[in-house]
Symmetry: none
Subunit: 189 residues, 4 copies
DNA sequence: AATGAATGAGGCTTCATTCAT
DNA sequence: GATGAATGAAGCCTCATTCAT
């Protein structure tokens, strides 16, 4: 339901172009931006967008999925590095995600409204997310850097909320850092 | 943009009905709900809606403004009560914001996308909010319940982010309470 | 489900214009003709068409309904006249209907394909149709002009088929008359 | 437009597969069914369909032509058999047309709307049809089973109209038979 | 002032047709 | 010759906004 048959090289290239364009366009103008604009940005015809993603909702879902996928990959990388300082690894990862996220957080919203739930029970990405994040969290808790009673179920909304707070601050970098720091203080051991 | 000429009694009544209906409809179906539905819910013709709020954006703004207005009133009440336990007063108030907030988030989103910033610099409501919140914060800090280095500039995004986190949790009340508690822990003295 | 609240005068006028235009356009270019063309022909905006008939299917259905309505009215008129020669009344009515129909018979087709069945069991128009046609048929049978074993259930498809035959002949009037006469011969007593 | 250059064996096979698939798909879902579905049903790429039939209209025409071709072959067979009972031969053949006709009607409709007239003057299939049918008719008239004044020019629309009537009856077999019988009565001597 | 019918730009989606592989 | 990805015109429908009643 996620990967079908191997696509021709050009088709895969176009699919990627569309996904990238969609991410940019929806981030900039909200998920209500017209599909046609995604097509223009991707440099393909609108028919191509719909060939790859048969509805706008499917496109939104794919964009969100791709974002989460990168998120999980990043988490996996950090996990693999097995940093000496587990607490630092944990907070550095969170921070990088939040920085990447600000200004781009409408996806959950749009999809929730549309009745889609990429993170719903049973979704593969959810399981991977929980696994990767779980390792980071566990290590950080074992090192004493993070409070022992924090669970993944709470961590995910905390991240989303913190990203939102950062986004709301806007361009004032120092203020944003302080705001994030305050919220992270709630996580410390 | 905030104070107008005195309306006829029936007109004022209609304006209120529309505002109330809009709040209900947009909360239930999102800000993308058709204006016509607001009119139906309010029991007036669509022309009347547009007479009072010349664009949909104006209507959205008015709804958000009304909500914030009530919120600030509430804050003022709390301030006036001069509660013995300043920390409790502070957190109770914050919690009430969070609780009635999920819907508000959608308005911020919609208006931000449209380029409107209701809480931006210079808005009267922002000033009032800052004033009331400032008093509550100051008292809570003086009582030692809240960290001394927290400023209003940080507090507002913190509240917004926490509200977002709560909204993301959805219907699981216990999980939501824990999530909010964690984030609030970052504020404590 | 057929008539709602009394429409404003201008609205009723527009509704009629649209219906008339739709009948003309669909007759000329088939039921696949774009709704926009109906709007242009009616001299209204496309929004007006959709205000009165919320889907294209509804428009098709309304056109068909209107046609059947006129058909039944006409039958009622003939019934009321109580012509001395019942056989002549019967065949004259059938002929006039067929002449009116040729070139315009795609409606049943289109609606059947679309899953609509205006003549399905329980439809009011069907009952009226059967009643009016039934009287004409009965009298013609009593007068001996029409075979006694003919039922309404057979008569309706016979009319439709005969209209189709007439339509297929095209512009050669004499040939059309002979063709219709031959088919009618099957009905005689 | 009827005879082409000799195709490679595999190409001819593909052409036949497409034609067969088209007949099945259009019969099942109407002539508006997407060409891509025909390709899928035929097990070929869509490019192949368009290589053999450069437009959808050409495909529709070919399908109808193939059907008529088989029909005429059948007529020729009946003619060759020189049946003892010429009347029975005539009506049996007509009935077989009616029975396999509901689908054909849709083709006529679609092509007529598009301005194509497969049975129009000058078409080879029309000439062959007239010839075969003419023999059957003549024999039936000579045997006294069919009225002497019936001409081919009238017979063809009569058949088409009767097929339409049968189609309109739908699935009630007994009613359909009675309806057809009534219309055929007009042809008898 | 209120009403609601009319408007039409704009969004999503389909599908016949073309063309690079 | 076959394939199927790409294309974009065109259709249906929605909805913010205007305006005659």
């Amino acid at each position: 339901m996620t990967e079908e048959k191997p696509l021709r090289a050009d088709a895969r290239r176009n699919r990627a172009k569309v996904l990238e364009a969609a991410e940019a366009v929806f981030a900039a103008k909200g998920t209500g931006a017209p599909t046609e604009e995604v097509a223009r940005e991707a440099g393909v015809g609108i028919g191509t967008v719909f060939r790859h993603f048969p509805t706008k909702e499917a496109l939104l879902e794919a964009v969100l999925y791709a974002r989460l996928d990168r998120f999980v990959d990043e988490a996996d990388t950090v996990v693999a590095q097995n940093a000496a300082d587990a607490g630092a690894a944990f907070f550095t990862f969170l921070t990088s995600w939040i920085e990447m996220s600000s200004a781009k957080n409408a996806y959950f919203e749009a999809l929730t409204t549309a009745g889609v739930n990429v993170l719903g029970p049973g979704s593969e990405i959810r399981d991977r997310l929980r696994a990767s994040l779980g390792v980071l969290l566990k290590r950080a808790q074992d090192s004493g850097a993070v409070r022992a009673d924090l669970t993944i179920a709470e961590l995910i909304p905390v991240i989303i909320g913190t990203a939102k707070a950062a986004e709301h601050v806007g361009s004032d970098g120092a203020l944003r850092d302080r705001t994030v720091a305050i919220l992270f203080d709630g996580l410390r051991g």
